[in-house]
């Protein structure tokens, strides 16, 4: 028997998680408006399909970009041979300018501190390799993106220790929670190398407050550790309070020549903001020379196709396009978000108040048969198999409270969203009537029991049991 490596045969890839199982079920029976109207509707994929038409019209007006041409001249040869892990300079310049624009131009980025990667998946893993030894740990606030269990831990052998957040304060990070997580890591004999947060949050869809960011900065300063801010959803903020990047806080606090400046790293990607996950474009931004040097070399394992770099450099350099895109995209996300929220309300379901992201953090605690994760799983299975909606259960995101679900809204048409809400309402209504009839029958049996008691007919009671 040709044995495989331990890594290949272990379960660190987390593929058994319900997050992925739901996807598998969807793939077996995917909804299609025409071909499979009774199929499962995918609401577990955080993809942004709302602004494709903007990209398409730009491409139609700018054929040179996809045609390997610059100012009418073919640069095919240059691109075909370009595999420099420092990245196409024009692309990095355009990308940092875009990142700046998304942050309201309150911060600027230096392209020489930017390292490209094949998607944020690759960027996050590379950062782990750069910052932590096998067996060391990073603290992550819960609930968090299920993919992190695989991306951050698998090949790197780094551990994740959760910072427990609760609904009591809308899942915000508190000082106590941070300290508790740190202590927990110590108890487990794990050396903490840093904190990783997603801002705006996945799966919450909320932006971090100034207070939270300051708290984090203070925490990493005191503990002498790193902070990674995964800002992959920064361009999806559609309403107030608006997005504050950690870089802004660093700038405000005059941290430029301090220790902490080198220990804050940002991860970005075009998969969510521009809706181009297939292009595999991610980036690491760091002020630490050694991190940039190591990550640059490691990017050999996940370089971005030169064809893609060139196309996007042309697109992102078109400032008119980017300005229009950012605002239009936000408008559409806001509208769609509203539709989901109101659709859920009709079914008596509320969600966490959110201002960003491609999903809502939905509160279905009142639909659980008991306040347990088993009940959450039960409910989830019903929703996937009976209601035929693939949503992500909070347990897959390591949420500390059962009953929360992540529901995506930007990866389908409006009609499909409407249909999904109808299905959900039908389910909730029928569940209510079953509950009602259960309640009535329970009441009936209770009356019977009391009746019997009142007649003091002990033997009958025993007999009934």
């Amino acid at each position: 028997m040709k044995l495989l490596s331990r890594k290949a045969t272990c379960n660190s890839h987390g593929q058994g998680s319900s997050y992925f199982l739901g996807w598998q079920e969807y793939e077996k029976n995917p909804y299609d408006e025409v071909k499979n109207p009774k199929g499962i509707i995918q609401m577990g994929l955080a993809e942004n399909q709302l602004s494709f038409v903007l990209l398409e019209s730009w491409l139609a007006e700018n054929p040179d970009a996809a045609g390997f041409k610059r100012d009418g001249q073919s640069i095919f040869r240059e691109l075909a041979l370009f595999q420099d892990y420092h990245g196409l300079p024009a692309f990095k310049q355009a990308l940092v300018e875009f990142m700046s624009e998304v942050r309201g131009n309150k911060v600027t980025f230096d392209p020489s501190n930017l390292v490209l990667a094949a998607g944020a998946t690759s960027a996050n893993e590379t950062l782990m390799f750069c910052l932590a030894e096998p067996g060391e740990a990073f603290l992550l606030p819960t609930p968090y993106y299920p993919g992190f269990d695989r991306d951050l831990k698998w090949r790197t052998e780094v551990e994740i220790v959760p910072i427990q957040c609760t609904s009591s304060n809308s899942f915000q990070i508190t000082e106590t929670a941070l300290e508790d997580a740190y202590q927990l890591a110590q108890k487990r004999n794990l050396k903490v190398k840093g904190v990783l947060v997603t801002n705006p949050s996945n799966p919450l869809g909320t932006t971090m407050t100034r207070a939270e960011l300051k708290l984090l900065l203070n925490f990493i300063s005191v503990k002498n550790i790193h902070l990674i801010s995964d800002e992959i959803y920064s361009g999806t903020v559609f309403s107030s309070p608006g997005f504050i990047s950690i870089m802004e806080i660093l700038k405000e606090s005059n941290c430029e020549n301090t220790e902490v400046w080198n220990r804050v790293h940002i991860v970005y990607s075009l998969s969510k903001d521009l809706g181009l996950p297939g292009f595999r474009v991610g980036a690491i931004y760091s002020n630490d020379d050694m991190v940039v040097a190591a990550a640059t070399k490691m990017s050999s394992f996940g370089l971005v196709s030169s064809q893609t770099q060139y196309l996007l450099s042309a697109m992102l350099s078109d400032k008119q396009f980017t300005k229009n895109y950012i605002s239009e995209n936000q408008k559409r996300l806001k509208q769609r978000h509203k539709k989901l929220v109101s659709g859920l309300e009709k079914s008596g379901i509320s969600c966490l108040k959110s201002n960003a992201g491609l999903f809502c953090w939905v509160d279905m605690r009142h639909l659980l048969s008991s306040k347990t994760f088993e009940a959450e799983m039960e409910l989830w299975k019903k929703i996937v198999y009976d209601v035929k909606l693939n949503i992500s259960p909070g347990s897959s995101c390591h949420c500390s409270e059962p009953g929360w679900f992540r529901v995506c809204f930007a990866n389908m048409s409006e009609e499909t969203l409407k249909l999904s809400m109808q299905r959900l309402k039908a389910f909730v209504d029928s569940a209510a009537t079953t509950n009602q009839s259960n309640k009535i029958s329970r009441r009936k049996s209770l009356i019977k029991w009391v009746f019997r008691l009142s007649f003091d007919d002990r033997e009958t009671i025993h007999g009934d049991r």
């Binding site: 398409e56 094949a118 932590a132 090949r155 595999r280």
Partner: protein
């Protein structure tokens, strides 16, 4: 109770006093202590205590880590110094190394400036690249194995077929949702199908490749790393016949922690490994307690450029079966054949024989055969379902851009174009190769027999000052800094015989060749006059 004296030597050994006089001053009282009541205990306690205190003292006063003072940039053009330097140039940053928390140890070793002649040469060319008109005094690149000889054909194809292919205009209008959205991270099905049929034609000949056994990655570099993660644990090893591609030292060892054990080959065997050498290397590893998990071969070979004969491949299968290890066959140059010998892929061997296929894995890519290194397209081809299943999950870290897949699905499926491309490519590569070899021959430099690849393996041992790695590197340095041509010395490829150099010719044009030969001649003359 008899008190046994602890030997004076034992006592004097422990505290290690600086002078004999002091020693006596310590020993005499100790002896007295020992001879007295309860002496044995005190007699052994005191030296122990002294010993521990000494250790404690030494620990506290151990000199701090030598601070890496930024070495001044070398004013001489010699790159030899860089090869032995160990301090990290990246510590030049004025921020310095504040605390222990900065980066992981794997990051600091990776961030260090390159110490292999292979990378140093490549970096030097980037700083001062030759250009016929703009920079005729620059360094001519002969160290990067790539071809620009047929890019015009691809460029033409792209300009004629672009719009439809890029955006998948099945419906006739631009639709980005077909490529922008998430697609399977191990490659779109149509891409796998197109790649399978491409590989069948280019390297399989009679054998067809099965699309369901293909995984696509962003280049062959991650393909090899992903496969390595699946086949071996940290601390295990792969056997690799030498000379081998310098990039393996990075791609396989960096993050996986797998060791590469060289299996030395000689020019007398045309650098083809023998079963004896394989056995020897395997047994030596076992003696050291290192577990060998696979043997990695490159066929057609890099840097030698020869094709492994069928018998050698059969021997390899026998060996792998006997030792119960995997075979990784990197066939990235499988379509770059220009000699008379036929290339036989492992796929062909497996197809014809009743052998256990589960241990064979093939690496491929479009960087060499199709001259598209910038597009990042690599392949893992395996017969082992478990390997495929594990590797598939790892492809998420290194996926091919869907934009690029779209373009290539059309291109690879255009069989007429592909045929025309390979015929023309073979002709052009052979032309350049023949001119280059003729030029070298004029200088008395012969090359090993080669039928494939984009380079030749040249024997310059007559020109090196001493028949050693040092001599070879001295010549390399002269060629790089005086002749201003970048070639790869055999030592960077772990070749056991000094004096061999890999010279890549496929990015040269006919006009460049006399320039290159002339430059080598100048240096060769100075070397000959010295010897």
């Amino acid at each position: 109770m008899t008190v046994t004296r602890t030997s004076p030597t034992a006592e004097s050994e422990r505290p290690k006093p600086t002078t004999p006089a002091t020693a006596m001053r310590l020993i005499v009282p100790l002896q007295g202590v020992v001879q007295g009541r309860g002496g044995l205990i005190l007699g052994s306690l005191i030296p122990c205590a002294l010993f521990y205190f000494l250790q404690f003292y030494l620990k506290r006063h151990r000199s701090p880590n030598p601070s890496s003072d930024p070495p001044s940039p070398s004013t001489s053009s010699s790159n030899l110094a860089e090869l032995t330097r160990t301090s990290s140039r990246s510590n030049l940053s004025s921020r310095g190394s504040f605390g222990p928390v900065r980066v992981s140890s794997r990051a600091s070793s990776i961030a260090k400036p390159d110490d292999s002649a292979y990378y140093i040469g490549l970096n030097k060319v980037q700083e001062d690249p030759y250009h016929r008109t703009n920079n005729p005094g620059g360094i001519i690149q002969l160290g990067l194995s790539e071809s620009s000889l047929c890019l015009d054909l691809i460029e033409k194809w792209v300009s004629e077929n672009l719009t439809d292919s890029i955006l998948g205009t099945d419906s006739g209008d631009l639709s980005i949702s077909g490529i922008a959205a998430y697609k399977p991270l191990d490659g779109m099905t149509e891409m796998k199908v197109a790649m399978a049929s491409f590989m069948s034609r280019v390297i399989g000949k009679a054998v067809s490749f099965d699309p369901s056994q293909i995984l696509l990655t962003a280049g062959a570099t991650p393909a090899i790393e992903i496969l390595s993660f699946c086949l071996a644990d940290h601390g295990n090893a792969f056997l690799v016949p030498t000379p081998y591609y310098p990039g393996f030292d990075r791609d396989i060892r960096w993050r996986t922690g797998i060791e590469l054990i060289p299996v030395h080959c000689r020019s007398t065997d045309n650098f083809i490994f023998s079963k004896t050498a394989l056995d020897q290397a395997f047994n030596q590893a076992r003696k050291r307690g290192v577990k060998v998990r696979a043997i990695l071969i490159c066929n057609p070979a890099n840097p030698v450029g020869n094709i492994l004969p069928r018998e050698t491949l059969y021997d390899l299968l026998d060996f792998a079966r006997e030792k119960n290890i995997h075979i990784i066959s990197d066939e990235i140059y499988g379509g770059s054949i220009f000699g008379s010998d036929e290339f036989v892929s492992m796929a062909e061997i497996l197809d014809s024989e009743e052998v256990d296929k589960n241990r064979v894995h093939i690496i491929y890519g479009l960087s060499k055969d199709l001259s598209l290194p910038g597009f990042r397209v690599g392949v893992i081809y395996s017969y082992n379902d478990s390997v495929l299943s594990a590797a598939k999950k790892l492809t998420r870290f290194s996926s091919v851009s869907t934009l690029t897949q779209r373009l290539l699905i059309s291109m690879l499926s255009d069989t007429r174009f592909i045929q025309e491309y390979f015929e023309t490519n073979k002709r052009r590569v052979k032309e350049i190769r023949d001119s280059f070899l003729a030029g070298l021959k004029q200088l008395g430099i012969r090359c090993s027999e080669n039928n494939a690849g984009l380079y030749c393996w040249a024997d310059m041992s007559a020109l090196i000052p001493s028949y050693s790695e040092k001599g070879e590197l001295e010549l390399w340095d002269k060629l790089l800094n005086i002749a201003k041509i970048n070639v790869t010395p055999g030592s960077a490829c772990h070749c056991i015989e000094p004096g061999w150099f890999r010279c890549c010719f496929a990015s040269l044009s006919q006009e460049d060749i006399p320039v290159v030969i002339e430059r080598i001649r100048k240096v060769a003359e100075t070397c000959k006059s010295l010897s």
